[in-house]
Symmetry: C2
Subunit: 164 residues, 2 copies
Amino acid sequence: MANQTPLGPVQESSTPEVKFREFLEIRGEKLTEPRRVLLRHIFDSHKHFDADELVAELHANDRKVSRSTVYRTLRLLVEAGLLRELRLTNRTAYEHDYGYPSHDHLHCTECNRVVEFINDDIVKIREAVSLQNGFRAEGHRFMITGICAACSRARSPRRRLDLI
Amino acid sequence: MANQTPLGPVQESSTPEVKFREFLEIRGEKLTEPRRVLLRHIFDSHKHFDADELVAELHANDRKVSRSTVYRTLRLLVEAGLLRELRLTNRTAYEHDYGYPSHDHLHCTECNRVVEFINDDIVKIREAVSLQNGFRAEGHRFMITGICAACSRARSPRRRLDLI
DNA sequence: ATTTTTGCAAACCATTTGCAGCTGG
DNA sequence: CCAGCTGCAAATGGTTTGCAAAAAT
């Protein structure tokens, strides 16, 4: 799942680890070693990932964390506001939701790439629509699906050259 | 999955069955009896539904269609542009996409109800963002998540109304 | 000491698929 | 007739869960 990171970071008052510990303390839960390993790995690089990739990468690095713990911790991190879920067609991907500006996504159904973009009007629409419907909005998902520039290019006006 | 129908129908040049037959003919496929039964049932009432509900309702009506055929036909109807998929948290729901205006959704995470709304600015944003990113947009999903008015009011130990 | 967490394996569950027989055109 | 379809049962695959051992406070 390739993905670039066009958006810059945002200044935050504490690290993900501190924020996670606070979250766990409130619920009387613990910041264990596997959770720390996972957290460090996740916030070490900024990209989209899924549970499976996490398991594989950690195994490759000899920092093994079991699949169940990965799933359980991902759920906690979402609840803690550190990660955001992206439900794609066949799997659930995650991205940083802390220390990173809020944004939405373009999803190329051809190459499966996800590109981020920021548009402030979306939240305005969200609030206006919620107000009209007596809805207390907690979040939204806006995903534009289609074909990215690269795939469009590689699609039609290119065939003839392949024929030699 | 309770859901009202706030939006009015739209004038179309042919019925869902005609449109589906055309779609199938182009691909050299057949409009069989199970498919007809399913299509009739789906377009008989306007509401959101999932594969399981369809199977149950048809069985209750003694118009049994097998689960596999339901799934296979739903996929065709989406490809044909007659239905639209809504990926909710735990399941895939469907709604009419033919003879019905384009719209987006509010999803109450408490009672799981989905409410439709129309906002023309969303498509404008979609086109603007796509242009900026060299993206050829084919569609979008905009889902606002939060708590609906009814659940806000009853905001006590209320459990989700998830039917089944 | 007590409560939470972990890893494993098994369970889940919506959806898909292989196949033998049925059906529409 | 023959490609395409159906129903059944079995397979899939991502995700969750039960449980006994391990770790945190």
